[in-house]
């Protein structure tokens, strides 16, 4: 598809709205209306551009934020759950565990053990650009060389 400039702007606006945590969460229809796109086209266009439906995008945004808050270690799991916009602790824990492979409390415990400077996010959990490379085993670099020698 070819996005018109106003549709592109609307989709970016929608994405920003889905990151926000208003007192009452917006419905997908409200976000679509605010973006100036019909709800019918909105979900499909959003998914094509951002790889997730608006609903999935909002859940993912909340879970990522929850992860950062838990790693910082200043808040309880319940506080984080409410802070990022979930109303049920059960569904928050389920979604978190499905996405990251461990429960919020297990993650919080593990992350806190890695924090050396209070309030700073541990680098191993939040890598910067290309910093992953430094954590590769030496065998990976041998494999790089072997892989470069192989025809694709």
């Amino acid at each position: 598809m070819l996005l018109k400039p106003d549709v592109f702007r609307g989709l970016c606006r929608a994405r920003d709205m889905l990151h926000e945590v208003p007192e009452r969460p917006w419905t997908v229809e409200e976000v679509a209306r605010e973006a100036g796109i019909s709800p019918f086209h909105f979900i499909r266009q959003f998914e094509t551009v951002f790889g997730l439906t608006p609903h999935q995008y909002r859940i993912r945004s909340r879970l990522s934020r929850a992860r950062r808050l838990l790693a910082a270690g200043r808040h309880s799991v319940t506080e984080v759950c409410v802070e990022v916009g979930f109303s049920s602790l059960g569904s928050f824990s389920d979604l978190f565990a499905r996405r990251f492979g461990e429960t919020p409390s297990d993650y919080r415990r593990r992350a806190r053990a890695m924090v050396s400077v209070p309030g700073k996010l541990p680098r191993a959990l939040f890598p910067g650009c290309l910093s992953l490379m430094a954590s590769l085993p030496p065998s990976a670099f041998r494999s790089f060389r072997e892989a470069s020698a192989l025809p694709l």
Partner: protein
């Protein structure tokens, strides 16, 4: 000193690998687990010894903010050279890719811009002969 590697941040590494190989047509060159993430690189089958592109997680909040701001401003974070931009535009559109800009002459090149479904805008360019 040589330029052999560059990187793009992506929202989801698994989906990104799928998009960059199955949709764009690049080949996976490396894929190693690193902690909770993966070190994934792809190369072009048309230039397997050219620069490798690492698909990195945008888990760092600073990186994600940068990525989102550049996207909203309409700025591509990578550019790939093609020899037939009209053909690539048609092929990728058929595969369901969303373009922000159709092939447009711009001085020495013709450019097009699409969303990679991983949080980035990517520019295609064809040099004018």
């Amino acid at each position: 000193m040589r330029i052999k590697l560059t990187s793009l941040m992506v929202e989801d590494q698994t989906k990104a690998l799928q998009f960059y190989t199955e949709t764009l047509g690049f080949k996976k060159k490396s894929d190693f687990p690193v902690g909770e993430y993966r070190w994934i690189t792809v190369v072009s089958p048309e230039g397997p010894n050219d620069v490798e592109l690492a698909l990195e997680p945008n888990a760092n909040p600073a990186g994600k903010k940068f990525q989102e701001s550049m996207f909203s401003q309409g700025i591509p974070l990578a550019a790939f050279e093609v020899s037939d931009i009209a053909g690539e535009f048609a092929r990728l559109k058929r595969k369901g890719v969303a373009f922000k800009q159709e092939p447009t002459p711009a001085g020495p090149v013709t450019i097009a811009v699409f969303a990679d479904s991983c949080g980035n805008l990517i520019q295609l360019y064809q040099r004018s002969s």
